[in-house]
Amino acid sequence: ASRIARAETPKAPPGAVLYDVPADPTKEQGRPVADGSYGTRSQFETEVRMRYPTPNENTSWSLTPLDKSLGNITPSGLHFERHHGGIPTIDPAKHNLLIHGMVDQPMTFSMADIKRLPSVTRKHFIECSGNGLTEWNKPTMKTVQGTHGLLSTSEWTGVQFATFARETGLKVDAAWVLAEGADAAVMTRSIPMEKMLKDALIVYGQNGEALRPEQGYPLRLLLPGYEGNTHIKWLRRLQVSDKPFMTREETSKYTDLLGNGKARIFSLDMDAKSVITFPSGDMKLPGPGFYDITGLAWTGRGRIQSVDVSVDSGKTWYPARLESLAEPMCTVRFSFPWMWDGKTAVLQSRCTDETGYVQPTLKQLIAIRGDNGPFGSIYHLNAIQSWAVSEAGDVTNVHA
């Protein structure tokens, strides 16, 4: 066998294609315009989703690289994932949505049928209610991707549930809707009818094109502001009922066991939360000087009203700038101009939503829910995040 050493072939990062880099790009022609193309990102961009090392890769999650995030929308290729039975490959020509139970007329809708109905497009975040579950006891993950990466924002396109409800009719006692996915977990969650009629969407579009396979292609439920697990992916069935079904995911999982041994059930809304994405854990500031602190704020209960930033571990707070008009159940980017003097600092952000709810400290959360996280209280950790900056400029995840 040949023993000749071979130079390692350079590999393009995921989502990129490798091209030669000319010494002077003004002195030679670039790549031609291709016919029939779907573009890729630059070979110099490397951020990727990070899988949380659960034992089983088919029931696992991956986190969005929020440290590299720009603006508000998450690139579809970097949207966080949580699957309980892997990502199914579904032919949309064979996929239907069945609506039955307490309706006047049970009906089946093909994807073509669904696309003929009036659609709406809305920008919403989805956050897994387990986002940050590693952080109850002590700072655990190094980066904001690890601590907050189960959060992504997209422009979603689809049909309001109310439109379907008008087509099928609803019996007077209809109070809950079970949504079921077509994956190996045949995922099911019960959703209050009030929510379904208020703003639930049956979506087939994400950021201007079809849903990505990891987000439920060809169809998913979108429940603005509800915990991610309820946004049933690969949606195939809606069963209208008078009572919830008490599925495994809404009893064994996604309930919040308090210190007193009782567990909150149907804790569906995601509370107001914010996090500084720059500077954040594992970064290094090159030296004293100006830094534009920036991050994201969001709430499941409406619009973000305001965000404050502290650089002294919460002793003093100053208002941050909001980058855009806050949209309902959507992230908004904030920023705060900071002239770093080179001394140690602790950076924090704290948001208030339009209901007047203020993002709590971890201490406040534990005082209410008990000290049993992450064994009892796993979900809904929306506490203020602290990043310590050392004199050397190293940024680390701390509880402060």
């Binding site: 089983n56 069945l98 009906m107 087509e167 190996a184 599925t247 009893t251 567990a263 509370d271 809904h380």
Partner: protein, 165 residues
């Protein structure tokens, strides 16, 4: 039916079509015919479940497996390290039937017969000392099983009033 046909898309679903699906609420509505006992369930469990959940249902955190622990944990829920299992935490036995039938065995979901599901459910509940080893599980008996933590769930108290400005 002018309301239903307003947009004129979609097809009326037949009873046959609807019958292909299931989701079992605490009332047991929709539980299929058939039945099973812990004895039969022990065999199902050994053949189809033990590799991932452990022969004593103690769970298996091995790489590539990651099957949950199913037994134990009673009395631990108010502690700092609560152990949440079918035995200690699950409020309804119907959920166990529904979940095993839809999603287990993890490697071949939906492959068990209804009798096998009834049986393995009976076996788990009997190992958990929730039912007697001799009880038969079927559409009538399963919804009546009293789970230890049936009263353990309370409505969501959020948004917590302390956290308003």
């Amino acid at each position: 039916q002018s309301v239903i046909d307003h947009f004129g898309v979609g097809q009326a679903a037949t009873a046959d079509e609807v019958a292909k699906y299931f989701s079992i609420p605490p009332s047991g509505q929709g539980l299929p015919p058939g039945s099973g006992t812990a004895k039969a369930g022990a065999e199902v469990f050994a053949n189809s479940c033990a590799a991932c959940h452990g022969d004593k249902m103690q769970g298996n955190p091995a790489k590539g497996i990651g099957g949950d622990r199913l037994l134990g944990g009673r009395g631990s829920l108010a502690s700092k390290t609560p152990v949440k299992t079918v035995e200690s935490y699950w409020p309804y036995a119907t959920t166990l039937f529904d979940y095993v039938k839809r999603a287990m065995p993890f490697s071949a979901p939906g492959s068990l017969t209804d009798d096998e599901v009834y049986a393995v459910v009976a076996y788990i509940l009997s190992q958990a000392k929730i039912i007697k080893p001799t009880e038969t599980m079927d559409a009538k008996t399963l919804p009546k099983v009293a789970m230890p933590n049936a009263d353990g769930f309370i409505p969501d108290a959020r948004p917590e009033p302390q956290l308003y400005r």
